[in-house]
């Protein structure tokens, strides 16, 4: 059945830089996806609840504040607790290379650092969502 992929684009943490998140949201839209854009300063709880109510295939999170090692694992954990661990979690933003293995270990599917062509993110989502 042909259906649009639904992606929640969220921006947790306290920094106000959402340009990257908006560029990604726009690129996903142009790739035919339905993007639920929730804006700035989301808590992990809000992101989890929104992801469930919107029944998304993927949660794409942008973090530039440096709080990634706390926020990403928390979101993955909350989704699993809510029986929604099948939702793909990906991240972007200024994330040091050294932190990426730990985040993958925690259940984040992929981290896309600045300069990643949006096409790579789009293909990754299409290939890795659990519901086809």
């Amino acid at each position: 059945m042909e259906r649009p992929i639904r992606v929640l684009v969220a921006k947790p943490g306290l920094d106000g830089h959402d340009r990257g998140a908006k560029v990604v949201a726009r690129a996903l839209r142009d790739a035919g996806m339905e993007v639920i854009y929730t804006g700035l300063r989301q808590t992990p709880e809000q992101i989890t609840e929104s992801a469930i109510q919107e029944d998304v295939d993927c949660v794409a999170i942008s973090i530039l504040s440096g709080a990634h090692n706390h926020l990403f694992p928390k979101i993955v954990k909350l989704l699993r607790e809510k029986d929604a661990g099948d939702i793909l979690v990906i991240g972007g933003g200024v994330i040091p290379e050294d932190d990426i293995p730990g985040l993958i270990e925690a259940g984040v599917a992929a981290i896309f650092t600045p300069g990643t062509p949006t096409g790579i993110t789009i293909d990754f989502i299409k290939e890795n969502i659990s519901r086809k």
Binding site: M1, R3, P4, R6, A25, R26, L28, R29, D30, A31, G32, M33, E34, V35, I36, Y37, T38, G39, R41, Q42, T43, E45, Q46, E49, S50, I52, Q53, E54, D55, K82, D83, A84
Partner: protein, 318 residues
């Protein structure tokens, strides 16, 4: 995931998945709605419409918070436009409703229009039914930002709130046909801005020209971002709901909307059958060629296809 059990126990994930299935025309979703249809009709269904940027999401957010204080459970179906080119969409109504996300008594669902032109998506109707079955007291449907003629919301809502802002044009705008005719309650938002009084006066003058005897919608000035006037707005919404119930208007509006709904489903089914038939027999393509060469005209062509379909249906039932 057992959707049926989840729907009974009030599991949000199951409700959300059912909405997705319905939106994607999965027949199983319609079976589940059919089984539970008798449970619909308890929620008060309120449409929130108005031009882009008028503050529909903020008004919805504040009305929801007020209803939550009163212990009511609230659903929100928020529709934003789908791109006609990519089929994708940016659904951004949640931005104004973030604190509601974690409220147990609130369910918010965003939808793309997916080609529908009347200010709603085709699936909005089904989503409202599902949230009604789920057991909410109030369901808000927020339309896309409307221009002048997107009036589908009247087919779905018991009460339509028209959110206006000052400074959108002269008073002739207020007497044009279309969206200005469908409001049951008018909210003049951002009413701390210049021209708010004039906008309210113009809407009131337009409403005074309406036929006597019908419900006279009220005009409420609000500043939604500051939660100013929201209590008065809710009061007027309740007032209209009360009028609908006591005057019998509720039933006549429901009769009209059910009629439209059945006709639309019927039409969709016919189109679906025709497409299915044409996948096998290529009847549409063949007919297009005959019209292209002027062998027949489009009117005859449509009649012919209708007859083919009808005979096929009669044949099937034998």
């Amino acid at each position: 995931m057992d959707i049926r059990a989840g729907l009974q126990s009030g599991n949000k994930r199951a409700v959300a998945r059912l909405i997705t299935m319905m939106e994607n025309n999965d027949p199983e979703a319609f079976n589940i709605i059919k089984e539970n249809y008798v449970k619909t009709g308890n929620a008060k269904i309120i449409g929130i419409t108005g031009p882009p940027g008028a503050g529909k999401s903020t008004v919805t957010d504040k009305l929801t918070k007020l209803l939550r204080q009163k212990g009511k459970k609230v659903g929100i179906v928020a529709v934003d436009p789908t791109s006609p080119f990519s089929g994708g969409a940016i659904l951004g109504d949640r931005i104004r409703m973030n604190d509601l996300s974690t409220d147990e008594g609130v369910f918010i669902r965003s939808m793309g229009t997916r080609g529908a032109l009347g200010g709603l998506s085709k699936a909005a109707n089904g989503a409202v039914k599902i949230l009604d079955i789920y057991g909410l007291d109030y369901i808000f449907i927020e339309t896309v930002g409307v221009g002048q003629s997107e009036v589908d919301i009247i087919k779905l809502a018991d009460t339509v709130v028209m959110v206006m802002v000052p400074g959108l044009g002269d008073d002739i705008q207020a007497i044009k046909a279309g969206i200005m005719e469908i409001g049951d309650v008018f909210a003049v938002n951002k009413s701390d801005r210049d021209g708010a009084e004039r906008t309210a006066t113009e809407i009131n003058m337009m409403l005074d020209l309406n036929k006597q005897g019908k419900y006279r919608p009220s005009v409420v000035k609000v500043i939604a971002s500051e939660n100013n006037g929201i209590d008065k707005l809710l009061e007027q919404i309740e007032n209209h709901i009360e009028f609908m119930n006591t005057s019998g208007e509720y039933l006549s509006r429901k009769r009209m909307s059910i009629t439209t709904e059945i006709v639309e489903i019927f039409r969709d089914n016919i189109i679906h059958s025709l497409k299915e038939l044409s996948e096998k027999t290529r009847v549409i393509e063949a007919t297009v060629e005959r019209v292209l060469t002027k062998e027949i005209d489009p009117y005859t062509a449509a009649n012919e296809m209708y007859e083919i379909l009808r005979k096929k249906e009669v044949g099937n039932s034998d």
